[in-house]
Amino acid sequence: METQLVLEKWPGSISVVTIGAKTAEGGSRSQTVQIGGQTALPLMFKEGVMPNRPKIAFEIWDIAPVDFEQELMTAYGRAINDPFTWAQVCVDEFKADLICLKMQGTHPDFGDRSPQEAAKFVSKFLNQIKVPLIITGSGDNAKDNLVLPACSEAAKGERCLIGSAVQDNYKTLVASVLADGHSIIAESPIDINIAKQLNILISDMGLSLERIVIDPTIGALGYGLEYAYSIMERARLAALSGDKTLACPFICFVGQEAWRVKEAKADGRQGIAWETLTATSLIQSGADILVMRHPKAAENVLWYTDGLFRGQ
């Protein structure tokens, strides 16, 4: 007798977020990227649909990176010293779907570029690089509150994903993103309640839940990955059960976490493995965007994703 699998039927679904706008939509992107839309837990193809594969965004800085491991520097060669070339390499050679532009150069300790300079940089970047764009601040709240609105305005109409809003500092960014037609990254410290609260606070300001992507904060393999994994899983279970305030896609900053661990610092090949394994684990807990650093790790993840989705 054939075994009958018990299949879950979920009332909720994850919202679909589109990043990038083509000319017809008021932007200048060559393509758009959609994430989310799942109606079941990750990869449970028999229970529901997973219309959009997890996407890889290549992490690019607006300045030459200062503390990257040698392995990363070697992977990009001289291109890494110029953000435009660096991004172009990612698009042309490594087939990046998305670029995640980190405005590190605006940080008071890393160049302290002004908001006007940042805006000018973003305009130029959008002119040269045509894939959809994610823009993140330097992590200095006060400075980000000046820089990100300027970047947002410079990218008006391009439907970027901009981050990060945190519980203590979300109003300025939400107002800009709302005005300029982008989507927002809502960052919470491995805490499902704060993730939820922040989403409510943001939607209270008028930015719809369909324009929020959750950054649950992740740890690399061996450095808290399982915490992030379980928080993401719980959020997904709640969302699929009908909780709209958690029904947003996830963005996971894999590269920065994986390359921080001592194993990666000790041996570059280990770093690649670390980044690969962290990313592939998170795909299984529902990651929609993986922000990655090493092209070889990104290639591994793409290969792995192809395998996962082959039978769909």
Binding site: Q197, D204, T245
Partner: protein
């Protein structure tokens, strides 16, 4: 009756007392406190005084040495007054603070004398009609027939016979102290005496036999000993009438704001003693102010009933509380017999009794039992909830068929402590607030309409709800608006409720983001405990027929606003009944009724304790409630901001 003047030195205080009263009694009436560890039985020998002039009668007791006899040393409790007297109280006999260093004094009495305040309480409509029997303390005036050759039973039997003729008292017991003086007393006063009876568990004790009819002077005290606030009432036990209510902060707060910190402190050198003194000092001070204001003699106060959480009762009685916080969380005692109040350091008549309302467990104490008693939750047909919003919040869910209780450590914010402009619900406390949405101007009323001095719990509930509605704070409690009332400070932003210029006071009344965080944690602890307990019993909120809200909120609590901020579940408002300080009300009932005491014993045995910390869902639920009103908005369908 002949009266004499007794002057006490070094205080140089004079009091007029009747002949045959003891020097100890005179001292108590004068407000001069003399050590009396044995409650005036002549056993401990700690109440030695030196007679400077005057005539006295005394009894030998073996406590006074030959040399002391020469020096005119007497035991105050065994020495009666037969003329005007001058009495010196030596250092060793004094029960006062002179022996303390200035630092110790400051620690023990920090702010004590200025802080006792009148409080207004609301009273449940039916609470005092629940029991109609006589209470803890009774005074019976007897005119006994003098013995004859045909009626020659002994004096003591004669007294018992007289008492049995006056009522059914069951087993009567008394101490040697009373029997020794009986023969002389009865004959001196023509067989007319007043007997004060104190109810112990299965018997009554003759506390005191006094000459002539003093039955009309019969007073008692009831206290709610909260972690943060201590409230006391003086009751005329004959008229069953409340004469006054006063409250102050529990002075133990200097040793830690929550019970666990205080338990830890009690293990330090002298820690238990300090905590014990802090609470008895506070009780004695409240008592002193109550009797002074009502012109009641402390000798006429014979009984006191205290309700408090288990730790508070341990500290009151100086019992080691350390096992309350250690697995498996066992207290020294939940059910305590009636005790001599003076043994616990409480100053009433030295022979007066102390009853503590029985507790349920280490973390659900007699205050909860008293709350169940006074709310009459135990008589309800359908499940009801009692929520006591205090530093140690307690929740009881049940009906006449079952009672389950849990404790939620909510912190003192709703009692006005630990928040920058917080105060108790006493005169001048802002208790009702509304805010104009356009210009953020604040409209408020204070208790007794006195100039505003601070904000009490109900004021904070209104204020938070109004700030949410006006868009001054977001749902996480951060101040998001701007305007002349909003300022940046070291504690984050603050909102000015009243400017000092408008108050003619030295400080603005404000609420800052740290205050809001404190209040948010308090309300989350209460709500999540209610939610978990209900779920644990497989009940839905909709199945709850009544919700009794208790707490030191003064006379007012806006249920709508309490729901808006997520303190109380979103249920039809008609289900909520605000009952004020239910712990105090319960202790008052026990003071006034022996049946109420018996019921409290039954309830404490019947209530099942549910430990929240073993339920993994509690932290989850608590985290979700750290938001206004809640992260799961479907739980608050009527709340709209």
């Amino acid at each position: 009756m002949q009266k004499y003047k007794v002057t006490f030195f070094p205080d140089n205080l004079t009091v007029e007392v009747e002949k045959d009263k003891t020097i100890l009694t005179a001292a108590i009436s004068a407000g001069v406190y003399i050590n009396s560890g044995c409650a005036g039985e002549g056993i401990c020998g700690r109440c030695k005084v030196i007679l400077k002039s005057g005539q006295v009668n005394t009894r030998s007791c073996g406590m006074i040495s030959a040399q002391e006899k020469k020096d005119n040393v007497y035991l105050a409790c065994l020495t009666t007054i037969h003329s005007d007297l001058e009495v010196l109280i030596p250092e060793n006999s004094r029960l006062n603070f002179d022996k303390l260093t200035p630092e110790e004094l400051e620690e023990r009495l920090a702010g004590l004398y200025s802080k006792v305040e009148d409080v207004q309480i609301i009273r449940g409509t039916s609470e005092d009609q629940a029991f109609d029997d006589s209470g803890f303390i009774r005074k019976i005036y007897l005119e006994l027939p003098a013995p004859t050759i045909n009626d020659s039973i002994s004096d003591l039997e004669r007294l018992y016979r007289g008492l049995r003729g006056a009522g059914d008292f069951g087993v009567i017991e008394t101490g040697l102290f009373n029997i020794r003086q009986l023969g002389e007393l009865l004959r001196d006063y023509d067989w007319k005496v007043t007997v004060t009876l104190g109810k112990r568990d299965d018997s009554v004790e003759i506390l005191l036999i006094e000459p002539q009819d003093t039955a009309n002077k019969n007073f008692g005290l009831c206290f709610d000993i909260g972690t943060t606030t201590i409230t006391g009432q003086l009751i005329d036990l004959n008229a069953k009438k409340i004469l006054g209510t006063k409250a102050t902060y529990n002075q133990q707060a200097v040793f830690g704001s929550d019970v666990i910190t205080r338990i830890l402190y009690s293990a330090k050198a002298d820690g238990l003693e300090k905590l014990h003194l802090a609470v008895t000092d506070t009780i004695n001070q409240i008592t002193k102010e109550l009797i002074t204001e009502q012109k009641v003699d402390l000798n006429d106060v014979y009984g006191i009933v205290c309700s408090g959480n288990t730790t508070m009762i341990h500290l009151l009685l100086s019992m080691d509380p350390s096992h309350i916080r250690k697995h498996p969380y066992v207290p020294t005692a939940n059910f305590l017999p009636a005790l001599r109040a003076s043994e616990a350091g409480i100053q009433v008549n030295p022979r007066g009794l102390l009853n503590c309302v029985p507790g349920v467990s280490s973390y659900v104490g007699g205050d909860t039992t008293a709350g169940v008693l006074s709310s009459r939750l135990y008589q309800e047909k359908d499940p009801c909830i009692l929520i006591d919003i205090g530093t140690n919040g307690e929740i009881v869910l049940g009906s006449k068929d079952f009672l389950v209780a849990c404790a939620a450590s909510a912190g003192p914010a709703f009692e006005g402590s630990g928040v920058s402009s917080g105060m108790r619900a006493s005169s001048g406390a802002i208790q009702k607030v509304s805010i104009n949405k356009d210009d953020f101007s604040v409209d408020y009323t204070t208790i007794q309409n006195k100039p505003a001095r601070g904000i009490c719990g109900s004021g904070y509930i209104d204020l938070l709800s109004a700030m949410l509605a006006a868009g001054i704070i977001d749902k996480s409690g951060r101040i998001k608006a701007e305007g002349k009332r909003i300022r940046q400070t070291d504690n984050g932003k603050e909102f000015v409720v009243c400017f000092k210029e408008d108050l003619q006071s030295s400080a603005d009344i404000v609420i800052n983001e740290a205050d809001i965080d404190n209040l948010k944690r308090s309300k989350a602890a209460i709500y999540s405990a209610v939610s978990i307990l209900t779920r644990h019993l497989d009940l839905g909120f909709f199945e709850i027929s009544k919700i009794f809200i208790a707490g030191g909120f003064g006379t007012y609590l806006d249920i709508d606003n309490a729901v808006n901020i997520g303190l109380l579940p979103d249920l039809p408002r008609s289900k909520f009944i605000f009952i004020g300080n239910s712990s105090l009300a319960g202790s008052r009932q026990i003071l006034l009724s022996a049946q109420a005491k018996a019921m409290a014993d039954q309830l404490a045995a019947k209530i099942t304790y549910f430990e929240l910390s073993v339920d993994p869902a509690y932290m989850e639920e608590y985290g979700q409630a750290l938001f206004f009103p809640h992260t799961d908005l479907t739980k608050f369908p009527t709340v709209r901001f």
